[in-house]
């Protein structure tokens, strides 16, 4: 089984990768990616079933906070079957589930970040006042000052000269370095899987 899984991962991985560089392999790549989409969908559903089983176990064992788990399972099952029966784009689903629950909670959690980020920034200044920390806070303050709409209009030099230069030149250099570094790391991780050095699907 260990050899078979490694052969499957490497062979199909190489076939899909070839599709990026050889036009002749593009048809096979499309078919395989369609299969991957289907299997990812089924795997996500299995994940939801697992989430339900974990929380139902908590309810069965009457663990602390099991009432929250019961609420989660109930809402999940109701939403799932309502979505399957009515379709996710049905008016009721959009108004009650999306506009009534998901979007406001997401937006408010995002709004809470305002307080959390401010608190984290102050804590960082108190606990880690090194070069990187000071540059970090100064840049954030500078950019915020440059983009703020003040009663007397834009701050002259900040908004028109310093802020664009910092975001479009200085920060771009660092961001590009980070992006290239992340891409190199991702590339190596992918290659390790294709060479069979990493086997996250099981087997050593």
């Amino acid at each position: 089984m260990r050899v078979l899984t490694a052969v499957i991962a490497i062979a199909f991985g190489i076939l899909i990768l070839l599709g990026y560089f050889l036009p002749q392999a593009a048809i096979i790549q499309t078919i395989l990616l369609n299969w991957a989409v289907i299997l990812t969908g089924v795997a996500a559903l299995v994940g939801l079933v697992n989430l339900m089983i974990v929380h139902m176990d908590k309810v069965r064992r009457s663990e602390k906070g099991s009432i929250y788990s019961a609420i989660l399972v109930l809402v999940m099952v109701l939403t799932f079957f309502a979505g399957v029966i009515l379709r996710p784009d049905h008016l009721l689903m959009r108004k009650v589930i999306l506009d009534g629950i998901i979007l406001p909670v997401e937006a408010m959690l995002m709004g809470l970040l305002t307080v959390t980020l401010l608190y984290a920034a102050i804590r960082m200044l108190r606990k880690r006042a090194d070069v990187m920390g000071i540059v970090f806070i100064l840049t954030a303050a500078l950019l915020f000052l440059g983009s703020a709409t003040l009663p007397f209009g834009d701050v002259p030099v900040f908004g028109t000269l310093i802020r664009p230069w910092f975001t479009q030149i200085f920060a771009l250099g660092g961001a590009r370095g980070i992006l290239i570094g992340v891409a190199l790391g991702t590339l190596v991780t992918g290659l390790r899987v294709l060479f069979g050095m990493d086997r996250p699907y099981g087997g050593k």
Binding site: T40, A43, Y68, F80, G133, F170, R176
Partner: protein, 233 residues
């Protein structure tokens, strides 16, 4: 304002208040809201998967292949169907081993897509964009003085190189057992820290601005809902 709008507005109003209550500390109302949110989001995603992935890709194509498809069509739908059945065995702890086969396929496919995406979507375009600053023809096409563009390009290139050097973790062992980086790399990495600090500061400012906008939008929606209710009664 029909009854669905009222229900939607009421739910939105209550959940906004409940999440906001976290500012005074963790409390049951906040927890209930988060569990409801996770349940609703998970259920909604599940129904989207059924309607937008499984029905068109598996059910519709499967029916078309069985009734009037060629042998190749039937084979092309049989394999993902078999894979789906094997993934479903993951629900049972005794039979979960069978799910390794389709999971291996998914990992291989994911690795290939990741490599393709990293190479063609990030590495090459980012390098090309960095190089383009030194192309006088491109500067002329954008009606900007070549020296200005090249000056900016030099700062960006310097930032890219020094930021990458910051993530260079190759080190040598001293006689006393401590580790140290090569001297030149250490200096370049120190400059890279400044560039990374500026970048993270810019990202922080952007995220903070977005969070503040969301915060204001929620408050505005609360006021809107109260005004609408006052209008009704």
């Amino acid at each position: 304002m029909d009854y669905l709008d009222i229900i939607s507005g009421l739910l939105s109003f209550l959940f906004t208040i409940f999440v906001l209550s976290y500012l005074v500390g963790d409390n049951p109302l906040f927890r209930i809201t988060i569990y409801i949110f996770v349940g609703a989001a998970a259920g909604y995603v599940g129904s989207v998967i059924v309607w937008q992935v499984l029905k068109p890709q598996l059910w519709d194509k499967g029916i078309a292949a069985i009734f009037g498809g060629t042998l190749v069509d039937q084979l092309l739908i049989l394999l993902p169907l078999l894979g789906a059945a094997l993934i479903l065995t993951k629900i049972s702890s005794r039979m979960a081993g069978f799910a390794r086969l389709p999971m291996a396929f998914l990992v291989g496919a994911g690795a290939a897509v990741t490599i393709g995406g990293a190479l063609l979507g990030t590495l090459l375009p980012q390098m090309e964009a960095t190089i383009n600053f030194f192309d006088p023809q491109l500067a002329a096409a954008r009606n900007i003085h070549a020296l200005e563009v090249m000056g900016n390009g030099a700062v960006i290139l310097f930032g890219v190189v020094t930021s990458l050097a910051y993530f260079h973790f190759g080190a040598r062992q001293n006689a006393n057992g401590t580790m140290h980086r090569f001297g030149l790399i250490e200096i370049i990495a120190w400059v890279g820290r400044i560039f990374i600090g500026v970048t993270l500061g810019a990202i922080f400012a952007g995220v903070f601005a977005a969070a503040l906008t969301a915060f204001i939008e929620r408050f505005s929606s609360l006021i809107d809902f109260i005004n609408k209710l006052i209008g009704i009664f």
